[in-house]
Homo-oligomer: 200 residues x 3
């Protein structure tokens, strides 16, 4: 599916930008910024592929990913402040990226023959783990463990996909529904400030 | 061996509880607590399997592990304070879990054909690495690197197992001896406050 | 190539020493110091092998690596202060180690059939990632992300190697040239305090 592929590589670039900007915030040097951008962009898919034993990991097989990551890093370096002003656009790309990463990760896992529950987890890992690694590397408690509802979004999206799949919904339609669901869920979560109950 | 399997999944739950409680301490939200519980429970086995190239990693092949982890997390959320009061019982389960994880990890590595020295290391990794990842994710210097004698316990247990194995002791008897040894060693280490010499 | 192998295991020991000394600085106990030494020494090669799917990872197949690491850790414990006084010698070994790790990692990746760009990255990962993991485990923002020019050195060395390889330079000569280049580049970078432009 060409559109998914297109969004996938665009999402990869958005993640690279988010990582590179985090690196700037931490006053890293050029190389550090590039490294954090790279880790953020490929972290999720890499962890998924390593756990599933699908190696060499995905981004090694298609250089377009590294190219997009490199572009994202350069954009962050040249236009860092401008990018920050475009926060809204940026947030939309990020949301699309997360949705697509979830579905692509889940599909890859299903194709490798694991149980749907595991596939749902792998979808989440694909979408979420880049940000987790970014925060670990920047020496912070991962954001996602603190206040984001966003992993839950991927979880619900993954469950929806598997249910629709069981109901024999065609893959392309299922993909469109699930991606839209995740995007809408996330936008609403941010707009209406949904948050998980505070337990601690 | 049914008993080992039973203790293995029980140990997994205890590790999930220990992780989830650490997450509560750090004031993470619901999802963060679940994530730290999960990582603590599966971290050791996952790292072992990835290093040995035995993928998809073990817990993906038998959903009982995720089920037990989910139960452990729910228990921590509902009865967190009560669990803390049961510290003694909890400590015993933890000790049994560590002992069993060490032996199972070691056996798995031996079955994959690596050198016994590597297998001993993989036994330690199985028992210890979940806690290491828990501490990294919670942004602390891993506890085990600071004051616990508990990795040493797994090391000695692993060496004992390999020696007995060389002496042709039957696997089931060897397992019982090694598991008991690790448990007794750890209980005594805590009771008599054994610690490693301070070098720094 | 016997010399490369010799430098490889020597470099592994130097990395173990650097890790163990970092562990001492953090006031870890005996086991913690050993763990940080180990992680620093094997981290780069392990990450490379896992990403490439070349498992069991390299150091499991040849116990000389663990032996050298063990020796390095013992040296750090017994002669820690003396080692620190030998900083210059130490720095030279470290430099040789980095150069050799880069080239060996790159060659391994090329042999596994990945694209040269990926191979260059894997060379860098081999040389650099042990130190990254050391800093993460010690709860610091990786040094390399902050002020070292040293990843760039490995990057340039890797590119040089691939270019010479394309120009059909024999492998042994290429290796000598690249290793020398990386060493000279690094020594000059430190001597003349080269640093990357400050962007943040």
């Amino acid at each position: 599916m060409t559109i998914l592929y297109f969004i996938d590589i665009l999402g990869t670039m958005v993640f690279a930008i988010s990582g590179a900007l985090a690196g700037r915030d931490k006053k890293l040097d050029f190389f550090g910024i590039a490294a954090v951008g790279l880790i953020t962009a490929i972290g999720g898919g890499t962890v998924r592929d390593v756990l599933l034993g699908s190696t060499p990991v995905g981004w090694m097989e298609d250089l377009i990913y590294l190219t997009m990551i490199g572009s994202g890093i350069i954009i962050s370096l040249l236009f860092g402040k401008a990018v920050l002003k475009l926060r809204r656009t940026f947030f939309m790309f990020d949301t699309v990226g997360i949705a697509v990463f979830t579905v692509l990760g889940l599909q890859k896992a299903l194709n490798l023959g694991v149980h749907p529950v595991i596939a749902i987890m792998m979808g989440m890992v694909s979408a979420v783990f880049g940000g987790v690694l970014r925060d670990i590397v920047c020496n912070e408690i991962p954001l996602i463990f603190r206040k984001e509802i966003y992993a839950l979004t991927c979880l619900c999206g993954g469950i929806l996909y598997v249910i629709l799949d069981r109901l024999s919904v065609e893959q392309i339609i299922n993909t469109i529904i699930t991606v839209s669901f995740i995007m809408i869920f996330r936008v609403m979560a941010v707009k209406f400030k949904w948050k998980l109950p505070d337990i601690s």
